[in-house]
């Protein structure tokens, strides 16, 4: 009887994942897709070499405090050590949550700024001053502080008139649904066609260790 009972967990374990990068993580919940097949929202949200072995997709909401932590503390060293060196390709994805009142409009401003080549600057400003505009809703004034008047006017025009500005957000939300996203921030690490979803703000030193192991495995 005892040996029969012991066989059950052994059989279960045989199907469990052992190596972190090759196992069937989220196999049931996330259909495996080739990295190349991942739809790219807009080029301004993608950085790094297309031949990088790993793609890190980051789903954020401009009004979420943990996303701010990720954006301010984790992404800069990730970009410097992995994206700039061609090891990782980084893709920003928008995932505005319904409970955040000003998140949608902030996303519009960031994407409009992206259309005129100012995505990084505006996204950085929005995360940096999140505590202010998430209280008073003054997204326009916040963005205006970092853009010259001419560019700011272009952004305003795009926000007001570009009916396709939300297309990328819609695509990101659909992709998030396919990734079974239930919170922000969430990282999806794509390696060898496998998508591994990591919920929550990942500390950089732990992410670094994980990426190094993935890269070492080739």
């Amino acid at each position: 009887m005892r040996s029969l009972l012991l066989l059950l967990p052994a059989a279960l374990l045989m199907t469990a994942q052992t190596p972190p990068s090759t196992g069937p993580t989220h196999k049931k919940s996330i259909p495996e897709r080739k990295a190349a097949a991942v739809p790219v929202a807009k080029n301004f949200k993608l950085s790094g070499s297309p031949s990088a072995p790993i793609t890190v997709e980051v789903y954020t909401d401009y009004e979420c405090p943990s996303c701010r932590t990720l954006y301010m503390d984790v992404l800069p060293p990730l970009e410097a050590q992995y994206v700039a060196t061609g090891k990782v390709q980084l893709l920003h994805r928008d995932f505005p949550l319904s409970q955040h009142q000003f998140s949608r409009i902030a996303t519009k401003y960031a994407n409009a700024a992206g259309q005129i080549g100012r995505y990084e600057l505006v996204a950085n400003q929005l995360f940096k001053t999140q505590a202010d505009w998430s209280q008073n809703g003054n997204v326009d004034g916040t963005v205006a502080k970092v853009l010259p008047p001419g560019e700011m006017q272009k952004v305003r025009d795009l926000v007001k008139n570009d009916t396709h500005l939300d297309d990328t957000v819609t695509a990101d939300l659909a992709m998030g649904a396919r990734d079974n996203l239930n919170q922000t921030p969430t990282m999806v690490i794509v390696n060898k066609g496998k998508r591994q979803k990591i919920d929550g703000a990942v500390p950089f030193n732990i992410l670094k260790s994980y990426l190094d192991q993935m890269l070492a495995k080739g």
């Binding site: 005892r2 009972l5 012991l6 059950l8 967990p9 052994a10 279960l12 374990l13 469990a16 994942q17 052992t18 972190p20 990068s21 196992g23 069937p24 993580t25 989220h26 079974n180 239930n182 690490i189 591994q196 979803k197 990591i198 919920d199 929550g200 703000a201 990942v202 500390p203 030193n205 732990i206 992410l207 260790s209 994980y210």
Partner: protein
């Protein structure tokens, strides 16, 4: 505390043992199915471990849970395996209560990711802790009853409650 009927005692202890083993096996298995990075993020959000311990703990703890589940399932030295389970669950529960009291919006991380910490998860963990305590106490009491029996009774090991150490060293 224990029912008078030895058969009922045996059945209850076996049931508790299987349930407790199942909990630990499921907790370990579901964590192992995910990348260790996910569990490290859950541990980090609880703010209980220094950064340098996040990786080793997130790699080792799920295997420890599986090992403990198998140990409990085997019934070998049940009182000690159940006591260890109680201790582990007491530590987990304290950490979760602390995080909840601090108002941290975190993932429980008990059975893999995607389970926010809240009253429901705390109540479930409290029940698991109570179960572990009950199994531990029952295993110790049955062991005490067995050792207190007259020598003649020891010649009938088949009458011993399942889950106690029939032929194992004390």
């Amino acid at each position: 505390m224990l029912p008078a009927n030895p058969k009922v005692q045996r059945m209850l202890l076996l049931l508790g043992r299987l349930l407790l083993a199942g909990i630990f096996l499921a907790a370990g298995y579901l964590k192992l199915r995910e990348p260790w990075l996910q569990f490290a993020v859950s541990l980090n959000s609880l703010k209980i471990l220094p950064d340098n311990l996040l990786e080793p703990v997130s790699r080792i703890l799920p295997w420890c849970e599986v090992a403990l589940g198998i140990w409990i399932l085997s019934g070998i030295w049940l009182r000690w395996s159940a006591a260890l389970a109680s201790l582990m669950l007491a530590v987990f529960f304290s950490v979760l209560v602390r995080s909840y009291a601090m108002g941290l919006q975190v993932d429980c991380g008990c059975f893999g990711s995607g389970e926010p910490l809240g009253p429901k998860t705390l109540a479930r963990d409290a029940l698991m802790l109570a179960l572990a305590f009950c199994v531990t106490i029952a295993a110790f009491r049955m062991r005490a009853v067995r050792t207190a029996r007259p020598p003649a009774d020891d010649s009938h090991p088949s009458s011993l409650p399942s889950g106690t150490e029939q032929s194992r060293p004390a």
